[in-house]
Symmetry: C2
């Protein structure tokens, strides 16, 4: 299923900036960055539980936030993009 | 239906910062900000077309991006939040 992950990490402190980098790094392991703080990930149920747990352990819940949007398997018609594109579709192979 | 709008606006220039403010302002007219560049809007089809057109006219497509995620009417189970909350649910009345 497609899981959209968006995050706001408070980067006023050095610790916050470290959290931001860690969140992005973990998301990169599971999907593609489509905007600065927005990742699209194709996950099964267990991967989703694991990633949520990892991210939850990184953030400071008193100042940061994570949101997960579950778009199911038939997500192609549920997403629209305008403007500059950062990457390739999440479910297409990367040909180098 | 719930429409999630995410945006990346390039703020390296003063014009970019103006575009960012305009995009946020327009989104505020239609929904609630859940994260810095993430809005949840309850829109019917015509409102959605209108808002997309307005935002499209504001951004610079060569450096900015907009993404729209269509979560339908049964969206309550499709959204999960962890951490600090910025606002009230999008479909609940604001009691002052």
């Amino acid at each position: 299923m497609l899981v959209l992950i968006t995050y706001d990490v408070n980067t006023e402190s050095a610790a916050g900036r470290t959290r931001l980098r860690k969140v992005a790094k973990q998301c990169e392991n599971y999907g593609r960055r489509v905007q600065n703080s927005v990742f699209e990930c194709i996950l099964d149920q267990s991967q989703c539980v694991l990633l949520k747990s990892i991210l939850n352990d990184i953030i400071d819940e008193s100042v940061d936030s994570l949101r997960f949007y579950y778009l199911g398997n038939k997500y192609q018609t549920k997403v629209e993009h305008i403007g500059v594109d950062r990457g390739i579709p999440v479910d297409q192979p990367l040909i180098l």
